[in-house]
């Protein structure tokens, strides 16, 4: 069993598992941190951005000044943002049989895989994952396509040139594989390959393995996966959460007794407690708005935003902010808010029960109803006329490189009254802000990551007790900035195996057993034969606890299923012909010769030989056993652990005699 690791990002995994003749891709996350190297895409022409000076080499060579721009000491690529794809060279992705998706954040690379690699398999995901994943992709495509950029920079990617660039461009990995965003057509095509599944649904893959999604508690429809055969079980834990937020709680019990547990998608901010961060978020929001400032929250259109809106719903009245407008701007804002209300079966128990009252599960419905929360597809249109300040704006993209957020950054960045509050943990807020420097507005970093932290992982592993744990290399040592925090790493026994991008791991996994069925489906006429086959199994105990039985049958293997069938019946003697001897008729009968087991005690064997008239016996010890030398008869009996040879020249009688003496010491069945 092998694991091909195609992504180096621990929370945006993309791994391929080869297991029992199946090739299963586990998630296909898209690393979008590469976009931080690019200049933002302003929705309306930004004089500041367009007038940034071009970058030139130390020696004054300015051949890159069209591609690279300098802003407050940082260098950015002036081009359409590109994304870092999963590794495509490590394994032929056309051989991937299925792709299992854990949550909507971990499927953003799907169009690249399904549309450009010859992939012809099936993708499995839950319905909310697909629907919200579609919204995220749609928003992404929309953000990028609506501000077409003629220029496409590629010169800087040349390895020789990249070496000359300042950090972080110099250190960016695999830049040659960075790709532009996919199109909506590709998205639709990719999504059409998805087959919807429900929690605990068992899906057979070619009869070899069974895959099952389990609730992971992280997001609407988010799942962990169990991949199991009859005797092996692999658990794949991706983004999971034990906190009580809106999704269904995590199913931990089903992860028990795994041979291998692949652990990815832990919290990116292990030192930040989500509750504390929500408190910070609310406090800073209130503080800004009370001072007459605006609050900008760069966010994804789904996920934590639901929880934030719920917190604000409870908080705004107490903070005296009831009359402050909240705006949610995204091409998919409306769909996201509405979808969240209809996935009742995927929600936590409290929210599920609301549906039967009937009430909308999320309180943002009431915020919308009372006009406290308004949503718009974009800045243009109704928003411009409704817009009043001070206000709170939720909009994307959290990288601050594209989307409506770019406009608000340009608009509000100059005033210290305003605040940008970062809640999404996927991007470094300092890097995100770099092209907006100098910036007067306040910046608050309140990353809210509800995924498992190391304490929870430690408890989880104690609970489910997998034989082996496999995880990204980032999880087996404390973060570089906090090397003393031994609590910020996975601590389990045996130590977890780690992987990194473009690495192939042989998982410590021995397949020892296969399930073989005895004619599971037989016609009534064959039932008797089948019973005969079963009846023939008479186990004999050869050691305490170990029984053996012999069986003579034909083994059929098809679709990874092994079936024993009765041996073919002897051909009926045709009339008129001379009846042949049975031995000639069924050659298989030779197989019925008894099987031998046991060992030969040399001393007793020698005594027996002596009893039977052999003299002048000499015994030699060898590395593998003994050699009994019958000097007179010029015969050698070589006794080894798993074989015994009688070597005598042309004296078949003697050989048979000796053989029979040897056989006396062995058990037969």
């Amino acid at each position: 069993m092998k694991l091909y690791c195609l992504s180096g990002h621990p929370t945006l995994p993309c791994n391929v598992l080869k297991f029992k003749s199946t090739t299963i891709m586990l998630d296909c996350g898209l690393d979008m941190t590469s976009t931080l190297n690019f200049l933002p895409l302003p929705l309306v022409q930004s004089p500041r951005l367009s007038n940034l000076p071009g970058w030139s080499l130390k020696d004054g060579n300015a051949f890159l000044d069209k591609e690279l721009k300098e802003c407050s000491g940082h260098v950015f690529v002036d081009s359409v943002p590109e994304f870092c794809l999963p590794e495509t060279e490590l394994i032929d992705l056309s051989t991937v049989d299925v792709i299992l998706i854990s949550n909507y954040h971990c499927m953003m690379a799907l169009p690249y895989i399904t549309e450009h690699t010859g992939f012809s398999g099936t993708v499995y995901a839950t319905e909310p994952t697909v629907q919200i994943g579609r919204l995220l992709m749609e928003e992404l495509v929309n953000f990028i396509e609506r501000v077409p950029k003629a220029q496409s920079a590629s010169l800087w990617k040349n390895k020789d040139i990249q070496r000359l660039l300042p950090s972080p461009l110099k250190d960016a990995v695999e830049v040659s594989t960075w790709r532009r965003c996919y199109t909506m057509q590709e998205v639709n095509s990719a999504l059409s390959k998805i087959q919807l599944v429900g929690y605990s649904q068992k899906i057979e893959l070619f009869g070899a393995v069974q895959v099952t999604p389990l609730s992971s508690g992280y997001a609407l429809g988010s799942s962990n996966w169990i991949i199991q055969s009859h005797y092996e079980k692999v658990s794949y834990v991706s983004g999971s959460s034990l906190l009580t937020t809106h999704p269904q709680p995590m199913d931990q019990a089903s992860l028990k007794n795994s041979d291998v547990l692949i652990l990815t998608g832990l919290t990116q901010i292990p030192t930040a407690n989500p509750d504390g961060m929500v408190g910070e978020f609310c406090s800073n929001l209130a503080l800004t708005v009370r001072n007459g400032g605006n609050v900008l929250v760069p966010c994804y259109p789904s996920g934590v935003i639901y929880d934030l809106l719920e917190c604000l719903y409870q908080y705004i009245d107490s903070a005296g902010l009831s009359n402050i407008p909240f705006y949610f701007i995204s091409p998919v804002a409306n769909s996201s808010l509405e979808f969240s209300q209809i996935f009742a079966e995927w929600l936590c128990h409290n929210k599920q029960t609301k549906v039967y009252l009937p009430e909308p599960p999320f309180p943002h419905a009431e915020l919308i109803q009372t006009n406290k929360l308004k949503h718009y597809p974009s800045l243009h249109g109704d928003f411009s006329s409704d817009f009043r300040q001070p206000c709170v704006v939720f909009t994307g993209h959290p990288s601050l490189r594209f989307g409506d957020v770019v406009h608000f950054m340009e608009l509000w960045g100059k005033s210290s009254l305003n605040t940008v509050i970062f809640t999404e943990p996927d991007f470094s807020y300092l890097e995100a802000l770099a092209p907006y420097q100098p910036l007067a507005m306040k910046c608050i970093y309140c990353p809210i990551d509800t995924r498992l932290n190391f304490i929870q992982v430690s408890k989880l592993l104690k609970e489910v007790q997998p034989l082996h744990v496999v995880c990204p290399e980032q999880y087996i040592q404390p973060p570089p900035a906090q090397s003393h925090r031994m609590d910020l790493m996975i601590d389990c026994q045996p130590p977890a195996m780690s992987y990194r991008r473009a690495e192939v791991l042989a998982l410590p996994f021995k397949r020892r057993y296969e399930k073989i069925e005895i004619m599971p489906e037989v016609s009534p006429a064959e039932t008797a034969v089948c019973f005969q086959l079963a009846d023939a199994l008479v186990p004999m105990e050869i050691k305490p606890g170990i029984s053996l039985a012999t069986v003579s049958a034909v083994l059929h293997t098809k679709d990874n299923k092994h079936i024993l069938q009765p041996p073919p019946r002897p051909a009926q003697p045709t009339g008129g012909k001379k009846r042949k001897r049975a031995t000639e008729d069924i050659p298989d009968c030779k197989v019925l010769k008894p099987l031998l087991s046991g060992s030969i005690p040399v001393e007793q064997f020698v005594q027996t030989l002596e009893k039977h008239g052999f003299s002048d016996i000499k015994v030699e010890d060898t590395a593998k056993g003994h050699i009994v030398l019958l000097q007179e008869a010029e015969t050698l009996i070589q006794i080894e652990e798993d074989s015994t040879h009688i070597i005598c020249d042309n004296d078949e009688m003697l050989r048979v005699r000796l053989r029979d003496l040897v056989l006396k010491f062995l058990q037969k069945f």
Partner: protein
């Protein structure tokens, strides 16, 4: 600060609840005769159905301490009672209930002594007693409430303490009959049996009564094998407890000792030490101590022998038992022995205790040889008890050596309390003190060592970093580590204010340890070694340690420390105040510690302002405070406001602080919190705003709703809260602020004080919360003092214009009081159904009367029609009809009414607890009988 959530309820009790004493000092006109004044109590009693039995539900055992709330809010405690009309003859027990052999074997009571009985028990009770005894002896009559039995027993104790028990028995033969009745095999309730045993003990405490009961063989029968001890009733813990307590009361004289020895009670007590009921086991231990002490007293006048071999047999038996227990292998037995010894040394300081200790100390020391040491906690208690005993000369009996040995043998967790106890001792060898202090410091030193970059923390006293917890050995589990650290911090904090605390005090070490601990818990510490990293993992995010360390750090602010350490202290406090992960309780403690450290920061001579470092810190602190004032967690907003109030109170007048505060958003945010949805926060905001306003640090309200409109003054805003807030806490806070403002002649108030006071009193008088009304009287008193020129006792630093003594005639001085309707408010409060309000009003009026008595020049108009109408109105008020106002009062009328009221009498009556009327023993007996009677009626109703 307003009262916390534990404050009294806002429910206004029913008017007329409970009896109110007559208030008229003398009848001023015919209708005002004392008997004609309707009483609230009378009104209340009318609610009971005449002729039916109502039993007081408010009365509970005397043993139970009255709850603070009962005392604070008497109106809620007043229960109307009506009792069955008792016929002149008390009910006699039914013939069937009378035992045949009640007085069998006892000498006949002497009739000649009956005349003295009045000294011990009043005739009414004596009359009721036979019926009650009959009820108790009758198993068919259940005693509904065993608290009544407790009260009854208390009463008997009082009676026997005041007089002769023998006389009591002789005068009330029913008591003996009751006790005899207990010996009959019947299905008696264990409560009554237990009561009887205890009553017997109380009676037999006097030797003559003991002899009297002995003659009838009653005592051996009750306490010996023939009594409950050998019967089925013994399975009830209540009976066993009654048996022990009975003997405890009885064992007061040598005859009792003889009795105990004779009936084999001591052996039973030994076995009861292992009783399954903790109460019984504990009482058995106490009884053993008592018997030991009694037996060692010996015959009167003869000091006990100092040779253990010459001790009385009973004492020797007990000591032998203790010795045997100390040699036992089972920990419970050792614990019992140690507890008995601890009590003995704690209560008795006679010379023989030293002999006892000398005899037993080798056995106690022997416990230290065992591994693990059994009953370590009890051992520590014993050693400390011995060490504190003035009867023992510690140096001569090897106690110090034993203590030192124990300190070194016990685990750090067990040794902590012993070390603290040793350090609290007045005279103790220096070496032992050093050893004890090292034990307390050890966990902290260990933390410092684990975090030190270079080996060996500086400033750690020699021997502090012990070997058990540090070098090489892994730290204990998280729970053990946290427990040890918290205890260590708590012990050191207790030690901090004591005069006998170790000297030199390692202030720098302790500061460093507290800071390090906080850094470890907060995740900001950077340990250099594996042990430090392990410690970091154990303590990360541990709220218990955070709280303990912050408390300790706050306590350390009384001392000084190196500048760099103080900087670290402020840095770590700021880290905690900033951290989004600080829990509300941790944050509150961080605020408290911060305030204490700011208070202790060095001051520039001659200037009360904060020092430059503290001011720099303040600049970092205020943004944090701003954010905390906006927290979604109300506890955080509340603590932040409290902190702000404290800071403003101390530094509100100082330029540096004022400048920093006014430059921040804090005052504006505080003003907004006046409208917080949480009442506690509103209350804290009111207090904070009152303080800010007093210091001139208030910004005019400019909330969103005020934009563009006319800005309201804070006074108007607070008045609005006082009259409209649905919760009591903010209203109480407003009253406190207003009172303070009046005292300080706040600018908003000084402009038109009379209007202010009139407005506030009018609103306060209507308030449903008694604390608001009481605070209204406080404000009225301040106004009264100011008007009549009482020298101010409050707020010596307040800058206020001097109040001139009234120069004009008294009437002129009283005019402002009449104009603000102060008397209307005070008279109304006089009849308030809540006792503290009435008391306060009484005090105020008494104060006024005293003031006016010395003044001359004002003639009372006693017979004026105005006075009569006022008095009539007051009568109606007292009767509960407060609808009619008094109207405009003239000073003369007020004075006349004031003098006609029996205010002293009222104050005396109000000073009594609300149930004083029902506290008499007669009432108790009636209640108990009534309970049975009610039950009987119900039975009859069933048919």
């Amino acid at each position: 600060m307003p009262a916390g959530p534990s404050g009294t309820s806002h429910r206004r009790p029913c008017e007329g609840d409970g009896p109110v004493p007559p208030v008229w000092r003398r009848p001023v006109s015919a209708p005002l005769s004392l008997s004609s004044v309707p009483k609230c109590g009378a009104r209340g009693s009318q609610r009971g159905l005449p002729g039916t039995l109502r039993v007081s539900r408010g009365r509970r055992p005397c043993a139970r301490p009255r709850r603070a709330r009962d005392l604070a809010s008497p109106g809620t405690d007043r229960q109307t009672r009506s009792r069955p009309r008792q016929s002149p003859c008390p009910p006699q027990p039914p013939e069937s209930a009378r035992p045949d052999c009640m007085t069998e074997g006892l000498p006949a009571p002497s009739a000649g002594l009956a005349g003295i009985s009045g000294l011990t028990m009043d005739p009414e009770c004596s009359q009721l007693l036979p019926a009650l005894c009959a009820v108790l002896a009758d198993p068919r009559q259940p005693v509904a409430d065993d608290t009544c039995l407790e009260k009854l027993l208390d009463w008997f104790k009082t009676v026997t303490e005041a007089g002769s028990s023998l006389l009591l028995l002789q005068e009330n033969p029913c008591l003996v009959e009751l006790l005899c009745h207990m010996l009959k095999p019947q299905d008696l309730s264990s409560r009554v049996l237990s009561f009887s045993l205890r009553l017997t003990g109380v009676l037999a405490a006097q030797e003559d009564c003991f002899q009297y009961l002995q003659q009838g063989e009653l005592l051996p029968k009750l306490f010996g094998e023939a009594g409950p001890l050998g019967g089925a009733a013994w399975t009830s813990p209540a009976v066993r407890s009654g048996w022990i307590q009975g003997l405890r009361s009885l064992a007061q004289h040598p005859s009792a000792l003889h009795f105990l020895a004779h009936c084999g009670a001591v052996d039973t007590i030994f076995s009861l030490q292992e009783d399954s009921s903790l109460f019984v086991a504990s009482a058995a231990g106490q009884l053993l101590v008592h018997i030991l002490g009694l037996s060692m007293q010996g015959p009167a006048g003869a000091p006990p022998s100092l040779q253990a071999g010459d001790w009385p047999a009973c004492a020797q038996k007990i000591v032998g038992h203790i010795e045997e227990s100390l040699r036992a292998t089972a920990t419970p037995q050792i614990t019992q022995a140690l507890n008995v010894l601890t009590t003995t040394f704690g209560h008795c300081h006679d010379p023989w205790t030293q002999v006892l200790w000398v005899q037993l100390s080798p056995l106690v020391a022997g416990l230290l040889e065992k591994d693990p040491i059994p009953a370590a906690h009890s051992l520590v208690d014993l050693l400390l008890s011995v060490a504190r005993s003035p009867g023992l000369s510690s140096s001569s009996c090897g106690l110090w050596e034993t203590l030192a040995q124990t300190l070194s043998h016990l685990s750090p967790t067990q040794a902590g309390p012993l070390a603290l106890g040793i350090l609290k001792l007045q005279d103790c060898p220096q070496a032992l003190r050093a050893q004890a202090f090292a034990v307390l410091l050890q966990p902290l030193a260990c933390v410092l060592k684990a975090m030190a970059q270079d080996p060996g923390p500086s400033g750690v006293p020699d021997g502090t970093v012990g070997d058990s917890m540090t070098a090489g050995t892994p730290l204990p589990s998280k729970a053990a580590c946290v427990g040890l650290l918290c205890r260590s911090l708590a012990h050191l904090e207790l030690l901090l204010p004591l005069p006998q605390r170790p000297c030199p005090w390692p202030q720098a070490l302790l500061l460093g340890a507290a800071v390090t601990l906080l850094q470890l818990c907060g995740g900001s510490a950077r340990p250099a070694c594996d042990m430090g990293r392990h410690l970091c993992t154990l303590l990360l995010g541990c709220v218990r340690v955070q709280r303990a360390a912050l408390d300790f750090l706050g306590a350390l602010s009384d001392g000084t420390g190196p500048r760099e350490l103080v900087t670290q202290v402020f840095a770590v406090l700021l880290e905690y105040l900033r951290s989004p992960d600080s829990s509300p309780t941790v944050l509150k403690k961080a605020f408290q510690a911060t305030f204490r450290w700011l208070l202790s920061s060095p001051k520039t001579p001659g200037c009360w302002d904060l020092d430059p470092h503290a001011l720099l810190f303040l600049r970092d602190l205020l943004p944090v405070l701003q954010k905390r004032l906006c927290s979604p967690c109300w506890e955080v907003r509340d603590s932040s406001l409290e902190f702000l109030t404290q800071m403003t109170r101390h530094w509100g007048g100082q330029a540096g602080f004022r400048h920093a505060l006014l430059a921040s958003e804090v005052p504006k945010l505080t003003e907004q919190l006046l409208r917080d949805p949480e009442s506690y926060v509103r209350a804290s905001a009111v207090t904070a705003m009152g303080q800010l306003s007093s210091q001139g640090l208030c910004v005019p309200p400019a909330g969103p709703e005020h934009q563009g409109g006319q800005q309201k003054s804070l006074l108007v805003e607070l008045l609005h809260i006082l009259s409209t807030d649905s919760e009591g806490f903010p209203r109480r806070a407003v009253m406190q602020v207003f009172t303070q403002w009046l005292r300080d002649s706040h600018a908003d108030v000084a402009g038109d004080t009379e209007q202010f006071v009139a407005g506030v009193l009018q609103v306060a008088s209507q308030d449903l919360d008694w604390e608001v009304r009481a605070q209204g009287l406080e404000l009225a008193l301040v106004f009264l003092e100011q008007t009549l020129g009482q020298p101010r006792s409050h707020c010596p630093h307040a800058v206020t214009p001097p109040v001139e003594a009234p120069v004009g005639p008294l009437a002129q001085a009283l005019q402002p009081l009449c104009r603000v309707r102060l008397f209307d408010f005070a008279f109304r409060a006089l009849f308030d159904c809540d006792r503290p309000v009435a008391q306060k009003s009484c005090d105020l009026l008494l104060f006024l009367r005293a003031k006016t008595a010395s003044s001359s020049g004002l003639q009372e108009s006693q017979s004026s029609p105005n006075v009569a109408s006022v008095e009539a109105a007051l009568q109606r008020w007292q009767a509960g009809d407060q609808a009619q106002p008094l109207g405009d009062l003239e000073p003369e009328v007020v004075l006349a009414v004031l003098r006609s009221l029996d205010l002293e009498g009222l104050r005396g009556a109000l000073a009594e607890s609300s149930d004083h009327v029902e506290k008499s023993p007669q009432s108790l007996l009636q209640d108990m009988l009534a309970t049975v009677g009610v039950l009987g009626e119900n039975e009859a109703d069933c048919y």
